[in-house]
Symmetry: C2
């Protein structure tokens, strides 16, 4: 009966696309994962590995022996192989390289020389090139003889004798044009070649804004290097988005949801440690005013309100600016306008909430003086929050940091410290 | 000289893709936007409008007269038109409908009847269908006579006499097969048709996991309704990701970065108001313990540390669960495993940070009792944070709410209230 169960699992997996199996594996607790992996179709293993999150992948690869790993990589495209190799043990990489043909090995080396986050790292070498002086009927006969066309192909690439990129020949053009015409007559000339060192993010923005399906990657001397296809770009867009969301909470998007408790505890500790330092800084500021609080405990009751309103307002500005930067919508030309606008919003929100909170505090503690002081503190903190929310990501980016990762910690440190300092400081000056 | 400048702008815009112009307009302060809009190529106006964020679009459409609006919509695909119409004044919609041919109008009505967030709302009606019993050379002749193929086409759709979907005929197959063969012999049979009511998010996941470029949309009776293309799916993925990021800060992803200060102030006020209520709830909890704080001001100094550590730890679990749910990786089967794991992380982190913070507090205020009490409060709050972070999004989703939008407010309310209550309550019981 157990054998029958396994057969059912295998039939089920046989129907699935490698990326779907990767998704399934990521959704399974680690104990079930190994069971499913053992029944995965052998010829999909490589592609599944490529699509797994780093964490899950390395756990599975750790249990594979050399032969299995070499076999899994055999069916992979050069660009996918280039993603996997850096995560394999040295001796296995050697073995894989030795098992390849000379030409294939050269190609792999060229892809490996580019960063994973660049056009060169994204590109795929599997493409069909034609010459401009060929006639379409020759192209048609060539394709029929070839018998297959690489996946996600919507265009052939036109190159000259030296391999320099000349233009695109869309499949739709081949199908709708007179076969007597030459490639030169019907090809698209005004095609943007993607420079091999363009960042993956810029490549994604280009694909998104031009509705591209494939695009040529070009070296500085005009040589056609490879092509980028939309499926890899979709992965970049998804990863970028995941990265922003996860890193704002100090998490890594490659983390396994089912990682062992102690592994996750250790990883998250870093973030908690950083936040503890900022919380202690805020506590130290409060400590400066112990004597004041002792005389008026209402201050202790209200101070978190001042800090939290600043944190919330600031994180709105911060999120807006981080997203604008990621989408390439904020640039040196309009940064000043954004800053002025956010400052304006900060001042208005500061005024509105100063009045609201002052009224609440005044009624609650029956003190006009207290309500004036909290109003002033709220106004100061919301203005500081707007300024910090707009400026912190710009500074972090100029310093080469990741605004999404550290922006929110720095921001809440500022709004906590400023909030407590303004509120308790003003109270010390004018209330006691 | 000014005319020359304008000519330069026009030349520049002429080179750009409509989506790039939309992006440019969104990156411009509102004053410059109108100037650029006036020099946009007339035949791109419709497509630019489709790609603008809601806010920016409606500002521009408000300044267009009926003739301009009708002209702008003329070149649009049915699916794009269906996105624009609901935002236009009733009389203009009438005019546009009247200017269309009967058949076109019917098609538009059918697209308008589906939700924007479903396969039906995403689909495009512009596609080429063929019969299974046709020979490929007939298909080739037909395509040549037709002279053009709709954008983003990688396959023709095979239907029977009643218009029911039979399979796909990829362009690459047409190009590589013997023209004497029939469509039936070479077409792909095992193609998943997308049900017309599938959610846009599920469509995006399907495209992503199967590396699709186009896919057929099918009615319940098997009728081919339209096709979905990868460029629209990329927009869905981007919008989904933007939505998660923005709504976690109470922002709307369709908002204009350069909206007038007062408009933005008003919109953000809602979020600040909700957060003020939760901050006041936390303040009320502190107020319950005024007498305790009066006797021991150290409590006021340390209480934000307890609350903020809970908030940070909880938001890590929350973000992980929200993302897992959005990617379809968390389901009823594995939710319990995730919960147990997060609880485990919460307990461990609670223990670790309880010890660290107790040591700091003990040294700072030279009190063993205080350090034991803060340790207990940290442990309680970090465990509650893990439970809330895992459970809140699941409950919100079951109630039909948006976990990304309200999850973090509810979470920090819980961690603030529990944190203050545990710390000040324990202090009242055991310290005073």
């Amino acid at each position: 009966a157990e054998d029958e169960d396994y057969e059912q699992i295998e039939d089920f997996l046989e129907e699935m696309h490698p990326q779907e199996i990767a998704h399934l594996l990521e959704s399974l607790p680690s104990s079930d994962r190994q069971v499913v992996w053992e029944h995965v179709p052998a010829d999909s293993e490589g592609e599944i590995l490529v699509h797994l999150a780093d964490d899950v992948r390395s756990a599975i690869m750790d249990r594979m022996d050399t032969d299995q790993l070499v076999a899994a990589t055999e069916s992979l495209d050069t660009d996918d192989l280039a993603d996997l190799l850096p995560e394999m043990p040295r001796d296995i990489v050697q073995e894989i390289l030795l098992s390849m043909e000379q030409q294939e090995r050269e190609r792999l080396r060229s892809v490996l020389s580019y960063s994973e986050d660049s056009a060169g790292g994204l590109m795929d070498l599997d493409m069909i090139t034609v010459r401009a002086d060929t006639n379409l009927d020759v192209v048609l006969r060539y394709l029929r003889r070839r018998g297959s066309i690489p996946e996600s192909t919507d265009s052939l690439f036109v190159v000259d004798r030296e391999g320099r990129f000349q233009g695109l020949l869309p499949l739709t053009v081949i199908l709708t044009s007179d076969p007597e015409m030459s490639v030169a007559e019907v090809m698209e000339h005004d095609v943007i070649g993607i420079p091999v060192d363009m960042s993956a993010r810029d490549v994604a923005n280009l694909f998104e804004r031009r509705d591209l399906i494939t695009a040529p990657v070009i070296a500085e001397d005009g040589q056609l290097m490879g092509r980028i296809t939309i499926d890899d770009v979709v992965d970049v867009i998804r990863e970028e988005a995941d990265h922003s969301l996860m890193s704002m909470a100090g998490l890594n998007e490659e983390e396994d949801m089912f990682a062992p408790v102690l592994t996750s505890t250790r990883r998250r500790s870093v973030w908690l440690a950083i936040n503890l330092l900022t919380a202690l800084l805020a506590a130290w500021v409060i400590g400066l005013f112990e004597a004041t609080i002792e005389q008026l405990v209402a201050l202790a009751v209200l101070m978190p309100v001042v800090a939290s309103m600043g944190g919330i307002a600031g994180s709105q500005t911060l999120t807006l600016v981080i997203r604008g930067m990621a989408l390439g919508k904020i640039n040196p030309t309009n940064a000043r306008t954004i800053f002025r606008k956010e400052l304006g919003v900060g001042i208005w929100n500061g005024l509105i909430w100063a009045i609201v909170i002052a009224s609440v505090a005044g009624f609650w503690f029956n003190s006009v003086k207290l309500s004036i002081i909290i109003a002033a503190a709220i106004l100061i903190n919301l203005i500081m929050a707007a300024i910090s929310g707009a400026v912190i990501p710009l500074i972090l980016k100029r310093m080469g940091g990741d605004p999404a990762l550290s922006g929110s910690v720095i921001l809440t440190t500022v709004t906590d410290v400023v909030g407590f300092f303004a509120f308790l400081g003003l109270a010390t000056l004018f209330l006691i």
